[in-house]
Symmetry: C2
């Protein structure tokens, strides 16, 4: 319109760690006609999804599917494995670790709490010490990727310690699954819970629980107090031929997940892990080139989301708002105590090199706008260099 | 292809009582780019949905939204209102009434069971008698539309009896909401639970609970044993400005529900009730013209799904299969004990006159195919007559 300034930031860009952007194939399948959840045409889709999920978890377990978010799948682990008064250990070093504590408190568990502080990496030796000092913990709860801080924990080491003490291990991999390396069976993890809306490249609305035989047995030996999230009920339905769901399946999201799992299968899970590792490496390089620090205690495993400390000479609380309202990028700032202190650059799911460059460019523009002296292009350039040095290309 | 028989039944027709067919506007919105659930653009959609839901329930309550199916919303009512050992009464005259019993058993309630048999209408006088004989029942559970039998119950009368005895009333309106008349506040119903995938014309994945202040108070006075479905937590988030969800919202389904509620609002809830009543009346006329009986004890309230008894001279178990595999119509047969005995013709949600004629025509073709002497067109004709006699048209 005449007299109006041009707006080149007219595109809305989703750059959060969940919900994440969907591949076009995934988006479009949801507008196809709805299928009846007991129809053979849907049963075929359901079966394909259930058959493909174990590869992503690297397990031979049943992967149980719930119409819920990832938090519902977390609740399923608590209500199936823990009866009121039972003793467990939970690790919490961020918002989602704390969700385990809240769920366990609501359930009336006697919880040994390992809370070394936000952003800290879980120390398996500390878990070992706590389990020794507090004998009788029957389940250990931990987090693969703590989305609030960007830290990916060494759940393999935690599971090994838990096993030594005769405890089951439950891992929240809501944001981590399909982004950070996870080998459930090799690493001896009894239960991994996740959700559809992060690295699985589908919309929110499916919660997943990959449950070992030992965990299923424990659940079945302790019935009561649960129904919707009861593992036994869902496992029984899923083991039918063709597999079924005890309640109405969220058919549009299952169809979306089917397409997304097809894409993950085509790319290959090892390639998926490697792509996330490279995206994270480039992000970290870009952040460093801008003279910014990573938040907390991340390392080369932190491939889901990169949390960076915002410079102290600006009002950090404005960063997500400027990014969104001025430049069109929806990204995550800090949660709870970290509000205004960090920005999180997501790279879990349907993310590629240019998404990282876009996020870094948006960060540069925002810092400069807020008065933090910034060399425009420096972060982008450093990330580009990482991609080039990796020697990869579309056809590589 | 040369030599192949023509197939005029090449279209797939969804005619189930949930998931129900979606209006094109609802389907297409789901393939738009995913929004971050904390983004102002999504918050505006969420607020609109939460503001419009009370009209459908005919309430001034908070309507709480969960990422779950309707069964999850049912579980929320049980886990928020009933602690183990508390005394309640539950009415069950079909599969979904029995779900209340199963949920209450899982919760450890002391349940007075009113089970007069499948297809029977709940008798409020019997409820009165049972509450008198079993003093101390604190909550009464009932069903608006029993999808398994087609019977719509007089929940107004049940709520009045419960109130007389000082009990709260909880109504499962998963299939009934927006199809059968329901006036929550006028009828004094404390809690109505529902789901997105029936008359609300959205895909499965949202559970709803419309909760009175008295019910919320009871829940808050009895904390513990729940987290994901905790009403207080969800109410607190939804009462923020703008409203929020405690966990990731199922954004694609919320957007779909937003469009569907817009359509319901445009049509007007009274017109929606009247349309369903007319569709049901025409269906009943069609069934009668084919010489078939309705199942159970339906009356003019049974506007959600019409259950008809299949003739005894055919193998009723084959009816849904022939309808689907030969004629392309996915419809519901009977569940559990009613398998092979009934067919259910759905008319809840995005259904119009020609959908009823299609279902009746499919039924006629199927009966004839299975060897039951059928006057093709007789059921269709009777239904047409009802529509014409109603004096309605697109522009009326």
């Amino acid at each position: 319109m005449s007299g109006q300034a041009p707006n080149p930031f007219n595109k809305k860009i989703l750059a959060t760690a969940g919900p994440t952007p969907l591949p076009p194939r995934v988006s479009s399948v949801m507008s196809e006609p709805v299928l009846y959840h007991r129809d053979p045409a849907f049963a075929a889709i359901y079966e394909r999804v259930l058959n493909r999920l174990p590869e992503v978890f690297q397990t031979s377990n049943d992967v149980l599917l719930f119409a819920s978010t990832g938090s519902g799948a977390m609740e399923s682990a608590v209500s199936n494995l823990v009866q009121p008064g039972q003793k467990v250990l939970a690790c919490a070093t961020g918002k989602f670790g704390e969700r385990w504590l809240q769920l366990l408190d609501a359930q009336g568990a006697e919880t040994v709490r390992y809370e070394p502080g936000w952003g800290v990496r879980i120390d398996a030796d500390e878990v070992d010490r706590l389990l020794t000092e507090n004998p009788g913990c029957e389940v250990v709860f931990a987090t693969l990727s703590e989305t609030s801080t960007g830290v990916v924990h060494d759940v393999q080491a935690i599971a090994a310690v838990a096993k030594k003490h005769g405890a089951l291990t439950v891992v929240d991999a809501v944001s981590g699954l399909g982004a950070a390396e996870l080998r459930q069976d090799d690493w001896g993890i009894d239960v991994v819970v996740s959700g559809s809306q992060k690295a699985l490249m589908a919309p929110p609305g499916i919660g997943l629980a990959s449950v070992s035989a030992a965990a299923l047995d424990r659940a079945e030996s302790q019935p009561g107090g649960r129904y919707y999230f009861d593992w036994g009920r869902t496992a029984k339905a899923q083991r039918k031929s063709p597999p079924s769901s005890p309640f109405t399946a969220p058919v549009t999201i299952v169809s979306a997940l089917d397409v997304a799992l097809d894409m993950i299968h085509e790319e290959g899970i090892e390639n998926v892990f490697a792509r996330h590792a490279l995206l994270a490496k480039a992000t970290r390089a870009g952040v460093a080139a801008l003279g910014l620090n990573l938040y907390g205690d991340p390392d080369e495993r932190s491939n889901v989301v990169t949390a960076l400390e915002l410079p102290s000479d600006i009002d950090g609380g404005k960063v997500p708002k400027i990014l969104r309202d001025q430049f069109g990028i929806t990204a995550n700032g800090g949660q709870d105590d970290l509000k205004g202190k960090i920005l999180r650059i997501a790279h879990c799911g349907y993310f590629g090199a240019f998404d990282i460059l876009t996020s870094l460019a948006g960060l540069e523009l925002t810092l400069e706008t807020l008065g933090h002296a910034t060399q425009l292009g420096a972060g982008v350039g450093a990330a580009q260099r990482v991609f080039l040095d990796a020697g990869v290309s579309v056809t590589a």
